[in-house]
């Protein structure tokens, strides 16, 4: 059974906050849920399935279902970090296709900024019974240096340069100037990026995403309900998910799980990368974008550096407009998880509701890809392909 077209995204809402000192994480989740339901023209009582991940306080989905007063017959709390929400869209499609759900609510929220988390630079001790913990934590794996390990090896194997990586931030900043909610709205240059302080070589401060509070929510529903609503029809036509890791010591750091999550999504959708009009690509760091673009097939492996140069990712300038909200690099990375905002901006583009300065003309096919976990150790890639019907 193909899941192509089994579900439509009818509600998509991003919380405007980037610093929420006066709200709890649960309240942010619930405000996002309300925003997405209002966007869709549905109510809380229409929801019969709920999806969340590790950013939702409580045991699995239970506390949030309680807090929001939901009554559901299907739920999923698969936590694969920032790509959890692409995974949730795929799992919602499965539930809809098998008659287990009609209206699926997906939420994300967090407040790492208010809580003062040193998200990218402080190693976090986990449970020592987690198998790898005792063999990694002593060496200081944070987030930034794990992605830096990939960037360093990519540079070694393919000749990728810091200036090429910088073009990814430059493109994001061109888009963020039009987003009133973006944390970083100043347009930056390649020189600004490569001259910013080194965090974890070869990644500079401006190679890194923002740390922001906020959240987002999505409503996925079956075709009959989608067509009864007043919103433009955004159909899910391809999904894929895959996990990549150190493979028992046969570690290869120059590619991501997108190499495996992309092909099933492309096959389901029946389209190829050159058909895509707009791409939301997970942007925890500039290197994340570059590797995913290669692994999703937008260019040949190793050619990502050349592909992103000279504004090729800037809407109205280049061939592949990306992250037109400013992305995680400039706008928002709520709960240190950027997956849901990738899908939300793709929906805006397909509806024609992106900012006029960055709206892609005749945008009918879009991709929203997520990477969760750590590119340098173990992570999950998850791909969603969407079509404006």
């Amino acid at each position: 059974m193909s899941l192509k077209g089994a579900g439509y995204i009818v509600g998509a809402w991003e919380h405007p906050t980037r610093k929420a000192t006066d709200k709890s994480v649960t309240l942010l989740h619930a405000e996002c849920a309300k925003g997405a339901l209002d966007d869709a023209g549905l109510s809380k009582d229409d929801v019969d399935a709920y999806y969340c991940a590790g950013d939702a306080p409580g045991l699995g989905p239970m506390s949030m279902i309680d807090y929001m007063g939901l009554k559901v017959r299907h739920m999923d709390s698969t936590d694969v970090g920032g790509s959890s929400y692409q995974v949730a869209v795929g799992h919602a499609l499965q539930a809809i296709a098998t008659g287990r759900a009609n209206v699926c609510l997906i939420t994300l929220a967090g407040r790492p900024r208010s809580e003062g988390q040193a998200t990218g630079t402080a190693p976090r001790a986990g449970n020592p019974s987690q198998a790898e913990m005792q063999f990694e934590y002593p060496y200081g794996p944070a987030t930034a240096n794990m992605y830096a390990l990939c960037a360093m090896r990519h540079m070694y194997e393919y000749g990728t340069t810091s200036e090429q990586l910088a073009w990814i931030k430059v493109a994001a900043s061109h888009h963020a100037q039009y987003n009133p909610h973006a944390m970083l709205r100043d347009v930056v240059t390649v020189e600004d990026v490569v001259n910013s302080p080194m965090v974890a070589s070869p990644l500079h401060r401006l190679d890194c995403c923002v740390i922001s509070d906020g959240g987002g929510a999505l409503i996925v529903t079956k075709p009959e309900i989608a067509k009864s609503l007043k919103r433009p029809l955004v159909k899910v036509i391809g999904v894929g998910e895959s996990a990549k890791n150190q493979a028992g010591g046969e570690t290869e750091l120059t590619y991501s799980a997108a190499r495996w999550s992309g092909p099933p999504a492309w096959a389901m959708a029946g389209i190829k990368p050159s058909d895509i009009k707009y791409a939301s690509i997970y942007d925890s760091f500039t290197i994340t974008v570059l590797m995913q673009l290669e692994d999703l097939g937008f260019c040949e492996k190793g050619q990502g550096g050349k592909f992103v140069m000279d504004g090729n990712l800037i809407s109205g300038v280049g061939k592949l407009p990306f992250n037109t909200d400013g992305g995680g690099l400039c706008s928002n990375h709520p709960a240190n998880r950027g997956g849901i905002t990738k899908i939300i901006e793709a929906v805006r583009q397909l509806r024609g509701e992106a900012h006029p300065k960055v709206q892609v003309p005749n945008c009918d096919l879009a991709i929203a890809h997520g990477t969760g976990g750590s590119l340098g150790t173990r992570h999950v890639g998850s791909t969603v392909i969407l079509e404006r019907e």
Binding site: T121, S129, Q134, Y137, A144, N145, A148, L149, Y156, L253
Partner: protein, 132 residues
Amino acid sequence: MAAVQRKIPFVGTPDTNPETKPFFDGCVAGKLVIPQCVQTGKYIWYPRGISPFTLGPVEWKEVSGNGTIYTYSVMERANPPYCIAYVQLAEGPKMMTNIVDCDFKDVKIGMAVKLKFIDTENGPPMPFFAPA
């Protein structure tokens, strides 16, 4: 940037995962002892009591401690800065570690390195690597 040795943290105790006792016993004795997949002969990193290649048994073997740097990153935001890396052991697997006892500016991918044990703050000594 000369390497100032940071304090090395450890989480849990060597008994937390009883299956990895041969590794930690090796660390105390100054030997790098890691599992080898009985069926495929492949050495495995990180240490565990079952082969991820077959879900079959492993044997614990001492390896040479010779390796080359597969990739590295200097965490300049940390105080003191440190150089995290994956080192590919002569026996095959790549392991996460730190490069120590050198000016980080001299660190290069492909550089030959040699095993050295360094004490952790609240756990056993752990394997690190310095230029060979």
